[in-house]
């Protein structure tokens, strides 16, 4: 066995978790970019996970299709949720989206009981999902999303969302339908979170209601807060750091999570925009320019 295969045997799943968490980071990035604090993404991830798992396990669908259907279901629910909830002001929006996460958990626990079906296993969750997630498919999805993100920032829609984040009222007097665009960002985030959920279910081979609690939603937020809210690559970097860190800190046992919390507080206190800050890049490039001048 060469070094690469050895590395992969030990760390293969961590790498894939990093990639999945990068997807989650991107899903929150869309909403934060528009100025919305939404803690609903764990709930959307759950929907994507459950729907795609049920389709693969019970309906024998192929993975790409069940994945897309799962993500689309999450997007649809995101649309339904966003319609009433997005007109609430920041604190109330955060509370409502927190509540949504709980709803999803409770529905997951009680669904089989109430419908009399035996689809998702209630509190025990659904096990035995085939392991269909591959690093290649994850990487491919991320690369596609990255292209999308680059173009997103150079699009009319992206500009409108940036304006909404900075000053909603002013944006509206420039003809931007704020409510609609917020909904768009919300639904985009829900779709990507749903994708992440589908991938996750087919990696860990299990999906259960306790995987998507308040803690999960908060951890996703931490990816972007740490990585940087000013540039989309921040979401990727934050996800990577916060996924690898607990693995590296296994020796701390139950206390591992404390580090994540401390990092979150420290970042908010001293590095409010997170790690990736485009201004530093610009400074570096400007220095290079003056040398050539």
């Amino acid at each position: 066995m060469n070094i690469f295969t050895e590395f992969w045997v030990t760390y293969g799943s961590v790498v894939q978790f990093v990639l999945i968490n990068m997807l989650l980071g991107i899903s929150i990035y869309f909403t934060l970019y528009t100025g919305l604090l939404s803690l609903a993404n764990a709930g959307f991830m759950a929907i994507g996970a459950y729907v795609s798992a049920v389709l693969t396990v019970h309906a024998g669908m192929s993975f790409p299709i069940s994945l897309l259907v799962g993500a689309s279901s999450a997007a649809f629910i995101g649309w339904l949720l966003g319609l009433p909830v997005l007109r609430l002001r920041d604190v109330y929006l955060a509370i409502a989206t927190l509540g949504f996460g709980e709803i999803v958990r409770i529905v997951a626990v009680n669904f089989d009981k109430f419908t009399g079906l035996s689809l998702i296993g209630g509190a025990q969750g659904l096990a035995g999902i085939p392991k269909l997630t591959t690093p290649a498919s994850l990487l491919f999805t991320l690369v596609l999303l990255s292209f999308f993100l680059v173009q997103f920032h150079r699009s009319r829609v992206g500009r409108a969302l940036a304006a909404i984040r900075r000053d909603e009222s002013v944006a509206s007097t420039m003809g931007i339908d704020v409510a609609n665009y917020k909904l768009l960002a919300f639904v985009l985030g829900a779709f990507v979170a749903g994708l992440a959920g589908g991938f996750s279910a087919h990696l860990t081979r299990f999906v259960g209601p306790n995987d998507f609690t308040f803690s999960a939603a908060v951890n996703i937020l931490a990816f972007v807060v740490l990585g940087g809210t000013l540039h989309w690559t921040g979401a990727l970097i934050g996800a990577a750091i916060l996924t690898i860190l607990p693995e590296a800190l296994r020796f701390m046992g139950e206390y591992r999570g404390v580090v994540n919390g401390i990092i979150l507080v420290l970042v908010i206190l001293y590095l409010p925009h997170g790690l990736v800050n485009p201004k530093w890049f610009r400074r570096v490039f400007r220095k290079k320019e003056t040398r050539h001048a």
């Binding site: 150079r154 829609v157 500009r159 409108a160 900075r166 509206s172 003809g175 704020v178």
Partner: protein, 254 residues
């Protein structure tokens, strides 16, 4: 073009705007003056859709807009600037203006993501139009600087450029000369007049009476939320009610 009929805005028991009626005809430059707190900015908020009137009608061309959301009102052709300058701070001047061009574009996320020719052409066209505005408002020197790095007077010009980017038929200016020196004020006056000559209608809130005399065809005077005079600059200046309103304001400041 713009007609207000018995427009009122109440906050609890207080009427910030009380039974205001007036008409602004197409192609005019109308000044809106009055002591501080007279309700001028509130009126602008009502017209632009940022606030909703408690009573009355606001008609713009053939549409009743008093209950429309702000973005629809802009799409119908009303744009505005703000008293305390609300530019998108970290964005460059050019980016601010390009955001203003939002309604002039059609490309959605999908065409942007796929980089279709329609998208690319539109982006090119948007940038060209923004450059036209930048040149016209004399902002070439700082087109790529962050908007909040400019002087007050320059920022106001950016706001005007941004408002013009929405291709309005009526533009509402809230104290545009505040923070400008005499030269800049005169240039702004010339700009407004040339905009008028191109067919734009202007409603401008101002305190600078020289500027008002220079650009306005008519002046509406507001005090305590009510219209106390409506006529040419000469008529208004001589109107005893107006003089009393300003003197009263001066006394309370003395």
């Amino acid at each position: 073009m713009l007609e207000l009929k018995n427009v009122s805005r109440h906050f609890g028991g207080l009427a910030a705007v009380n039974d205001v009626s007036f008409l602004v005809e197409a192609g005019q430059v109308v000044g809106l003056i009055g002591p501080n707190g007279a309700g001028k900015t509130t009126l602008l908020n009502l017209i632009s859709g940022l606030d909703q009137a408690s009573k009355g009608e606001i008609q713009f061309n053939k549409n009743f807009v008093q209950k429309l959301p702000a973005h629809k009102i802009n799409q119908l052709g009303i744009a505005r600037t703000y008293q305390n300058i609300r530019l998108f701070a970290e964005m460059s001047v050019r980016e601010n203006i390009i955001v203003g061009m939002h309604t002039q574009g059609r490309a959605g996320l999908l065409s942007a993501a796929l980089m279709t020719p329609a998208y690319r052409n539109e982006e090119k066209w948007l940038r060209e139009q923004a450059d036209v505005l930048i040149k016209r408002l004399g902002l070439d020197a700082f087109a790529d600087s962050p908007a909040d790095a400019l002087s007050y007077g320059d920022q106001r010009r950016v706001e005007i450029a941004r408002a013009l980017a929405t291709h309005p038929k009526l533009i509402l200016l809230d104290e545009p000369t505040a923070g400008m020196n005499a030269a800049e004020t005169e240039r702004l006056g010339d700009l407004i007049l040339s905009l008028r000559d191109e067919g734009l209608t202007v409603l401008v809130i101002e305190h600078d009476m020289t500027f008002i005399s220079q650009v306005c065809d008519r002046v509406i005077v507001l005090n305590f939320g009510e219209v106390i005079a409506n006529g040419t600059t000469e008529d208004v200046k001589a109107n005893p009610l107006v003089i009393e309103a300003y003197l009263g304001a001066e006394e309370s400041h003395a």
